[in-house]
Symmetry: C2
Subunit: 155 residues, 2 copies
């Protein structure tokens, strides 16, 4: 492994599909061995229905409640982890205790606005990481995180 750019990255699982979104979602879930329950379909709809997103469990829970899909916070956590295990989401570690989940499942890069706790995708950039070192014996690289931390410019 030596080189990788943002352009190589796979897109999110949902955008690869066509046809009836709800039907596709159910298929997605079944393929992963997950029953397409009301909650999972609703959360999947919120997550994959509008392009790439970054959410915390708490924010997704708020959204679901607003969308009149009452679901417990615990189930949101369960579902996010099931989706992650299934490969529909990727967990992004940025700082502190908050876990962010990203619908763009490939290795890719982020801006992180420290003061707002906001994650921003770096898309279609020429950003390149080269000369990756060999992993230690018996290990393999399973992912790469690149986070550029932002702050308001001092003036």
């Amino acid at each position: 492994m030596t080189m990788m750019t943002a352009k190589d990255m796979p897109r999110s699982a949902a955008t690869a599909r066509t046809g009836c979104p709800v039907h596709d979602l159910k298929d997605m879930l079944r393929t992963a061995g997950l029953r397409p329950t009301r909650q999972r379909v609703a959360l999947g709809w919120l997550l994959f229905g509008k392009g790439d997103r970054h959410v915390t469990a708490e924010r997704l829970h708020e959204e679901a409640v607003k969308a009149r899909v009452p679901v417990s916070l615990a189930t949101v956590y369960n579902t996010l982890h099931q989706f992650t295990t299934a490969g529909f989401l990727r967990e992004v570690a940025v700082e502190g205790a908050k876990a962010y989940f990203d619908t763009n499942t490939g290795d890719h890069f982020h801006f992180y606005v420290e003061d707002q706790g906001q994650l921003i995708d770096i898309n279609g950039s020429d950003i390149t990481v080269s000369h990756l070192p060999e992993p230690p014996e018996g290990m393999e690289i399973v992912g790469m995180d690149v986070v550029l931390r932002l702050k308001p410019k001092a003036r």
Copy 2:
């Protein structure tokens, strides 16, 4: 900003000094406006006395207790954050709720062994990140994290 390699990175604050280590430590603290209390000197000693390290608050607390420097976990947290604010440490976000503190304060790169929660410096490597994108208007890039996640090789 376009290019940056591990070789450009500054070393840790402590290794830049010479002479009596304890004296230097106290100087370091005073310079940062921190009183050189017993606990802070002891923690500084543990942190900067043996080259670059990565610690969690909990591990450092264990070490301090073993080294017969009883200090409360709360004070360890306080001290780690004070050192970070002063620029002696850098916080590394890798995953979950754990915060790692690194005595190497420059932007640099890590391996992270997911199963063991272990951080490994990538030192003296040719790893290069180029073509960094411009930050959004009014923002500036204040740091970069690159984490390569490792797992035991499947065989």
